[in-house]
């Protein structure tokens, strides 16, 4: 079992110009804890949206790597999106699912990945270019290679512990986050239009 904060900090240390979308709840806090960045788009709601925001962004910015970090429950709500993404074959899109086999935000109720549902296998069956399951910090170099350098779409599922982490809350005004992201990516003149 991996520690989510250490894993996300490791992954984001090498992000370069990568565009990042984070699913609601702990993935958003994990990314904030690793260091705020104008090219982070933090979700605080809209469960099930993270992967498809990643697809729209990846198709709009084909020269940039797009990384989505989300949780197992959030990705299970968007299982269909894995099919949609696989069919579109965006070479620059990577999904990282932080899998604690539970709904961590709502009281740690048991999720479905603890009962045999395998998100990496689902993505592979849908047609993702590459997938990876990791359970051990020794595998993080393979994870970094997959997320940043392997032609996409790729999905990695990382088994993480359910230990609670301190809350690190980023900005939650959606307009601000969206405009900040667009200003950083497209230039200030296009932040709002």
């Amino acid at each position: 079992m991996l520690n989510r904060r250490a894993l996300v900090a490791d992954i984001l240390a090498g992000r370069g110009e990568t565009l990042l979308v984070t699913g609601l709840g702990s993935p958003t806090y994990d990314a904030a804890a690793a260091g705020d960045h104008a090219l982070n788009f933090y979700l605080w709601g809209a469960m099930g949206s993270a992967a498809m925001i990643g697809l729209g962004l990846a198709l709009a910015q084909p020269e940039r790597r797009v990384l989505v970090i989300t949780g197992d429950g959030e990705q299970l709500m968007a299982l269909g999106a894995l099919a949609t993404i696989a069919a579109e074959r965006p070479r620059n899109l990577a999904l990282l699912v932080l899998d604690n086999e539970a709904f961590g935000e709502t009281g740690r109720q048991a999720g479905l990945t603890g009962r045999g549902v395998d998100l990496a296998a689902v993505a592979a069956a849908a047609g993702f270019a590459a997938t990876l399951k990791i359970t051990d910090a020794n595998d993080t170099s393979a994870l970094v290679k997959l997320l940043y350098r392997t032609p996409g779409p790729v999905l990695a599922a990382a088994k993480i512990s359910l230990e609670p982490e301190p809350l690190v809350l980023p900005e939650r005004d959606g307009r601000y986050l969206a405009q900040r992201f667009r200003a950083a990516l497209l230039g200030p003149a296009r932040a709002t239009r």
């Binding site: 809209a46 962004l57 709009a60 910015q61 269909g80 949609t84 069919a87 959606g174 986050l177 296009r190």
Partner: protein
């Protein structure tokens, strides 16, 4: 003898022209019979990418990502798909994301299938409750102007709009037609 019917107005061409004029690059859909020609026009337009979804709410998230990346998207769907989008409409509402939807209506005028009625009748109150501005179209000749108005307010104002192509305009599907 019945008089010859005039050729039906090609509303799909008009709507496609609006999508093109507004530089819509990602056209997302769960298809509907009433959208067939518009989807064909999008599929053969080299400036547009037609993206087939498994469920309509994916298109709301896709449009948000497209906009974050500096591109514009539109979502084309049947009225039943509007119900799948409700919570996801929080995303563009909260983030000021322009969203243009084109909805082919069922369950409102000459509908043969009662299973289409609850969501068809629910489209307007549901979208209005989520803050979406509505542009219903009763006549094919007005579809282009409605799409222009809806696209303008969406893309210039960071708002969410829906062109509702009514069943009265599209013509009710006959029982013998394929579902």
């Amino acid at each position: 003898m019945s008089p010859a019917r005039p050729a039906a107005h090609d509303w799909a061409r008009d709507v496609h022209r609006v999508l093109s004029a507004y530089e819509v690059r990602q056209v997302a859909t769960v298809p509907d019979a009433g959208l067939t020609r518009l989807l064909e026009l999008a599929a053969t337009d080299r400036t547009m990418r037609l993206i087939t979804l498994t469920s309509e709410e994916e298109g709301i998230a896709l449009a948000t990502g497209a906009w974050l990346g500096g591109a514009r998207a539109a979502l084309l769907m049947q009225s039943s798909g509007v119900g799948n989008c409700i919570n996801m409409l929080s995303l563009p509402a909260l983030c000021g994301v322009p969203l243009l939807m084109v909805v082919t209506m069922r369950g409102e005028w000459g509908e043969f299938n009662p299973w289409q009625v609850p969501m068809g009748q629910g489209v307007r109150p549901v979208l209005a409750a989520m803050g979406v501005k509505l542009f219903p179209v009763e006549r094919a000749e007005e579809a282009g102007a409605a799409a222009e108005a809806a696209a303008g307010i969406a893309f210039n104002g960071g708002l969410q709009t829906a062109v509702l192509l009514t069943q009265r305009m599209l013509g009710a599907k006959r029982f013998a037609d394929s579902e």
